[in-house]
Structure formats: C-alpha cells, structure tokens
Symmetry: C2
Subunit: 317 residues, 2 copies
C-alpha cells in the first residue's frame, strides 16, 4: 500500500483510512438528539481533515440512544447531503435484531462501514458464541457491500475480540470483515493484530491518537479517536506527515492535549470543550448515566488547553 | 409483616413476595422468540407455586431481545390471560428511551412491577448519573402505579446499585421505589440492604435460592432465581416452610440442585434440563452470544439430577 493511497483517505478497494472522529451527539434540554447541531459538527470535522466520521461510537453516547434514534439520525445526516462514503456507523448492540437492523440500514445507505461491538451484556462468553453473533449479522444482512470493523474495547464492553475469533471470522467472511478498532489501550495488542492480520487487507485503527504514530509505523490504517472531536486538524496532520522528521514532536503535542482531556471523564470533557469554543453552552448536555463536567473543572480544562495555544477555528457559528 | 401475608405471595399494598422465576425465553430455529412455548412454561411455573414471573430478566436472555420483541411478548402473555398482577417485567436497557418505553408498557398493562437494570454500557459511572437515569425513568413514566425494583447484578452488568444511591432514590421517590433484586452473590450485602432499607417497605429479593433461607430470616421478601425455571416447587416450598424444623435440610437440597446446574453455563444448562424433562429438544436453542450446552455435558447434568430424584412433573405436554 502506497503512502499516496493512504493520504487520499481511501485504502484498498474503497477502504477507509486515516483519522476518524467518533462524533459527539448533542442533546436538547429534553435529552433528545439535536440533529442540526450534530450535522454542523460533522461538517466541521470533515472540513478539518477527518477522513471519515465514526457516528454512533462510544464517544457518541450511542449506547444511550435507541435504535430508532440512531436510524433517524442516519437518515437526517444523509438527507443533509453528507457523503455516506465518509461514514462508518456504530451498529453493535446487545440484541442481535438491533445489530442486524442498524447494520442493514448502514449498508443500504451506502456507508463506508459498520463498526460493530460484540454483544456486551453477558460476560465470559465463548469465542464460539461471539463467532455466531457476528456470523448471524453478516449472513442476515446478506449484502456483499458490507465492510465490518470489529470493535475491541474491553475496558468498557468487557467483552473483547480475540485473535482466535478474528482468524475464524476472516476465514469464513474474508470480504465482509474489513478491519478493527483496537481500543484496548495496549499498543502491543495493536501491533500483534497488524502483524497477524494486516497483510490480508485487514485494516487496524488505533482507538486513541496516543498510538497513531506507532500504529502507522507498524502498518495500521489510522485511528478512530474521541479527541478528534476537538483536535481534528492536528491529529489529521500527523496522519499525513507521519514520515516527516517532526512526527515524534507532533505526537508529543497530541499527547499533551489528550492528557488534559483525560483529567476528567472524557465524553463530558469533550462536550465542555466544544461548548466553550463554539460559544454554545447547550453542547454540555449529556444523557444519563453520564453527567456534565463540573463548572470549575471545565473552566480549568479550558484554561489549560488555551495555555497550550489550543483552539477550534471555524467552530463558532 | 405476618407470615400469612407472605404466604399469600402478596406483601404490603399489593406487593409481590415469594419465589419469582426469571422465565427462560424459548427460541425457534430462526432464533425468533417462541411465544406459545414460553406461555406454556409461564403457566407451569405458576402452577408449581411461583408467586410471580420475572419475565425479561438475565436468565430470559432479555438483553438479547429487541424492545419490540419484549413488547410483543408482553402483549402475547396478557392476551393469553396470564394475570399481570403476577408479572414483574425486566425493563432496564442501556438507552433511556428504551427503559422508559418498556417500563411504561409494563405499568400500563397493570403488571406488578418493573425490574430495572442500571444502564450498563458505560462503566465507572457516578451515583449522580445513575440517580438521574432512574429519576428520568420514574418521572417520564409518570404513573403512580409504578413499582420499581432495582436490579443489582454487578457480576454481569458491572454497574451496581449502592446503598447511597438507594437512599437518594427512596428519599425522592418513596412510592415508586419498591425494592431490589440482589444478585451480587454476597449475602452480607443482602443483609445490609434489608437492615438499612427493609423497614420502610422496601422489599429485598435474593438473586439465588442459595440465599433464600438466610434472606427470609433477615426479613427479606423472597428470591428471584434462575433455578426456579426447573426446580420451582421445592424452592416455593422452602419459602412457605422457612420456619419449619427441616428448613435447613430443604435449603441443602436446593443447593445441591443449584450446584449441579452451575457446573455449566447456567442459562444453556437450564434450557437443556427443560428440553429433557419436557421431551422437547427445541428448548435447547439459545441466542448468540450464548451457546447450547455440549451434548455430553448436558447428558451428565440430567443423569446427576435424575440420580437425586429430581423431576419436573407436569412439564411434558
């Protein structure tokens, strides 16, 4: 794979590569999703250099949305004219019919991919059971346009995606299984997945920009990272310039912003930062069980970021 | 509270007490819920002495069902003439709108209660966030007939219900918050919850019949237990006779059956046992990510139970 193919944000046969933002979902005062604010943020993220949008990820509070709400938002963003080829849709739910319904909706809409959590209520489930889950989704969706990215996020889902499971899935569904997002926080796992499966056109995305440079050096496809909601241009720049002499310095600068964000619960912190730089306090709203960042902690975060010269140009409308 | 009130299976103002079965959900070969088989099993459980049915619990694979599927099954069991006053409905989902929708459906149907998991995708959430979750459900359902039982099952949900959270909820919603199911597996926690909250008409159910006698001696309301799907009469008998001289011996006999069931994954094991004693192999089907018990292990389980004189009289149709 050439650097130029990567730089175009497209990998292999129409495959996504680069930096994807798991887009925050804004809510109104009644806690309903706020589609116009959301679509505005989506456009800003693409303008800032994101290769794509991973809508309905963990950072999107997607597991706090009903299936109806996710379907409706997908319809709205498509109706607004956002290119489905830039969308990877989070579709993994606890219940098989929900995962099938959302995955089918994404594929039929022409989206670039579906990012699929394993069913995560029951714990200590076997790879046999997880294989059956993903196999049922692939077979019941029954569409050879499906690009499925498996979502490995054991710190939250608790149920993970093992190499043995991936091997079985790739053997059975080499076309549908397109890659994974590794949010284990363990670069050794990311490296091992790339080394074992990367050669066959399986695209591994790091789950945090902390691992972007290491992931690209190992042969990975990019990252899908919460921080891209607020720091997209700098993260996308490192993706473009990862072979440049200052790549390590760029990575260090990204890590400093990430560390500031992580001093609070990340999703409310990101919403606080967007609210501040957009001049739009409504962005602070989160759905339960999350709670907003306390006012004083949010102010401290903004002060720290501003002190680093951080900004979100073009966000204020 | 008198023993006779308990014995009637009704506690306080129409409150549920005794042994409740979290009813297994049978599936057809296409993995769709099989309502006729399910309703037959529900009737058998009531005939065997269960005070009520906790439909859509963990044992029911309810988190593998869509909201539509749960609503449809609830409609079907009511249409079949099962008394809603015997039903406690599992309604807790990750997404607030889903929990509200199911809880509302249960209350409007006149069900005895709603058994509500906390939202369980996000981990390490605050009691503030959980309080907001339950408060939104109670307020948006907005029906003073709601009897909410909080479902504490940290080994699976990972997100639990603390005493501090309960205190806040009871202070804010003393009428709606009716009790809890404690599936922590920790009798000390159950005792502490009864001691702290039991006096105010808050009903604590153990999550396993292993703790039935200890729970009743501590002043609890009964148990909601997976094993009641296969061993209901003996568990219900201990509930009725917990003050009798042979209560400890009855508890020991219950524990032996439970131990046999726990040598395999419990839900598939229960389905295997029902399939065997009903003479109905279709009962073995589970939804992914669960997998059926291996044939040889299932046979060994049946042999062990049969050797103990275990049976399921009246189940075979």
């Amino acid at each position: 794979m050439s650097a130029s193919t990567r730089d175009s944000g497209v990998r292999g046969a129409g495959r996504m590569a680069g930096v994807l933002a798991p887009v925050l979902t804004p809510f109104g005062p009644d806690l309903a999703p706020d589609a116009p604010r959301w679509i505005r943020h989506c456009r800003w993220l693409l303008d800032q250099g994101c290769a794509g949008l991973a809508i309905f990820g963990t950072t999107s509070e997607a597991n706090s949305l009903s299936v109806d709400e996710r379907e409706r938002l997908l319809e709205q963003i498509l109706a607004a004219g956002v290119d489905p080829g830039r969308l990877v849709v989070g579709t993994g739910c606890c219940a098989l019919p929900d995962t099938i319904r959302l995955t089918r909706a994404a594929v039929r809409a022409g989206c670039a991919g579906a990012l699929v959590l394993p069913p995560f209520y029951y714990k200590s489930v076997s790879d046999d059971g997880l294989f059956r889950s993903f196999a049922e989704v692939i077979e019941r969706v029954g569409d050879n346009q499906l690009c499925m990215y498996l979502y490995h996020i054991p710190p939250i889902a608790q149920v993970g995606i093992s190499a043995a499971l991936l091997e079985r899935l790739l053997a059975a569904y080499p076309r549908a299984v397109a890659g994974m997002k590794d949010s284990s926080g363990d670069m050794e796992n990311t490296r091992a997945m790339i080394a074992r499966f990367g050669g066959s056109g399986f695209d591994v995305f790091a789950g945090s920009e902390r691992f972007l440079l290491a992931t690209l050096r190992a042969g990975g496809a990019g990252c899908i990272t919460a921080s891209a909601n607020v720091n997209p241009a700098a993260i996308a720049r490192l993706y473009r310039e990862w072979r440049s002499p200052d790549a390590d310095a760029q990575q260090t600068a990204l890590d400093a912003v990430r560390s500031a964000l992580e001093r609070n619960a990340v999703i409310p912190a990101l919403k606080h930062v967007v609210a501040h730089f957009a001049g739009d306090p409504a962005w602070r709203t989160v759905r339960p069980p999350l709670v907003p960042v306390a006012e004083n902690r949010g102010a401290a975060l903004v002060t720290e970021l501003s002190g680093r010269g951080f900004g979100m140009p073009g966000l204020r409308t």
